[in-house]
Amino acid sequence: MDSLGMPEGMAEVEGLISKIDECFSLGFSRLGSEQLEGLASVARVFSGTPLGERMKDAVEGLARAEFREEHFVSLAAARQSLQGAQYDALLDQAASKGVGFTRAAVNAPKKAEPIPEIATWMESSRQWLVEVALAGFMQVEQETVLPFVATLERLQQREEAARLAMLLSGVVHELFDCMPIGNMVHVPIRRWSDLWARAMISALDLPAYPESEEVSGALHLTGVDLRRHSHAMSAVFYGVLLPDDGAARHVRLTASGYKVDVLDDDELWQVLDETVFDALIEAYTRAKTLNIKGMRLLGSGDLIWDSSRAKIAAKSDVMSVAAQHINAPDTVLCDAMPLDRHPVQVAVPVYMGECEVKTSDDGALMLSSDGFSVELDAERGFMGGDLTKQFKGVDDCVGLLRYDGRWLFQPLVLSSKGKLTRQGQSATLKIKSSSSIGILKERASMLLRKKS
């Protein structure tokens, strides 16, 4: 058993989400009385809340086969608000069980100004999502997805739409990859409903960001969470900022780019623009402190990388900074933005000193330190292969406390006799002519020249 336990009410909320997800699996065009009653019970939970009327309309409308986009938006919002409540409960649970941090709330930002031509592609995206919902994930076929690819390619070319485009690229490629879906041994309905709901919300308005402040101080990068699908990568650098004044804070820096599927773990870093990210990668791979001056920090704890505001400084003693600050009770950890709150966004940095790994009775790998115990996330281990072996000889480590049906620990950095193991340790942004990206670009230029 992990030491954290489940927040109260978690199972009830799970039950409601499952009722919505069952409809996504089956398809909204073929709901039976059982599914409609399930949706109605979800709507009743929202009565008296700001979503109450909309949910009532949506469920009644769907029962009359009125497949309006607004009903599907209401469902996405309801699902998201249930998961937002879970997110809150999980962070409170972690804090109440003694994981040290000070939660900082963040307000909903003002809506972003629409950009007319992108708004049209976002509308097309919502229409496609409605079609997927009507068909149901179990029935999605090539013909359901192919017509959307042209819209997706337009979205990908606009930086303002990068978040939605990267999400939809991942969804589209995953669906293609899993076809025929009827033949899958396990259809990941929870995951796909999550992605659908997130995409629907992200396709309503361009992303808006909370208020920011300019911060200065010493930034110690602890580790990287490398998220990726076949056509995009997004590295999140986790770090501790020791500001010139005030308490230490947990911060994140994001660097994302589109990629192609044949790149290996080292090469995928090369999709990042060297002129923009060079100092960040150098500081990380060489374990140097970054002195930052006036860099923008969003209320969500996201530092917005700007190389002109960062200077590589002295060696960073990553593990001793971690031991001292990561779980100090006054180190500030910002909440996710209101629209982003979801159990998968729980990512509480944890330092585990003198840690050890043991296999529990039910076969899970448990990481323990000082009486605190949590299951290692086998899906997210960054080094592949046998986690027990990787933790052999590890003295202390830093990772993220995650939640996905149960509490999990995602390792970010392992330290063994002072030697660090972390993802992207040997990352380099330089594109050699012998590297995959170099070859692809050279071959493409040959084609273009000959064709003209």
Partner: protein
């Protein structure tokens, strides 16, 4: 951990991870739109590339240069470019996916390289326009030209493989 628990997770490795491979000989290969198609570098000229493909079901095939000249190696059977393309397709996607993409009934365990698939091809040379493959290759490469971002991207948290 039971499989039931995994299938319930929000964040899990669903996508097939394309295996990385050397690209010098075959810069591009895909299973798409009812065919396996690829772009293959010429063995003799750095300037020349071939586009090869095999249709699913009929297993008809063709190979031509970027100037739309038919490949000289097609007499009497699939050329070496088609074999190379299949070699790399097996590395990148795995034998099972390639067989499925071509609608060939064979045991994936017996397929180790391109020539093992060539043995199952029953179709013949059928001339077809190659430009669609070139344009798919170019739009694949265009991914690398799309802009980077420094803004938070919480949506990517769901994706951990690829």
């Amino acid at each position: 951990m039971s499989e039931e628990q995994i299938s319930d997770r929000s964040v899990q490795q669903v996508q097939h991870e394309a295996m990385s491979r050397k690209l010098k000989k075959v810069p591009f290969v895909e299973i798409h739109g009812g065919r396996v198609a690829g772009v293959v570098s010429s063995g003799s000229s750095a300037e020349r590339v071939y586009v090869s493909f095999i249709d699913a079901g009929t297993t008809n095939y063709y190979c031509s240069t970027n100037n739309n000249r038919p490949c000289g190696g097609l007499r009497g059977g699939p050329c070496k470019h088609i074999k190379s393309m299949l070699d790399e397709a097996v590395i990148q996607y795995g034998a099972a996916k390639v067989l499925k993409g071509l609608k060939i009934e064979a045991d994936p365990a017996t397929i180790h390289r391109g020539s093992d698939i060539v043995r199952h091809l029953t179709g013949s040379k059928v001339k077809e326009e190659a430009s669609i493959v070139f344009s798919r290759f170019l739009s694949y490469l265009r991914q690398l030209e799309n802009p980077n971002s420094v803004m938070p991207s919480p949506e990517m948290t769901w994706f951990i493989v690829g």
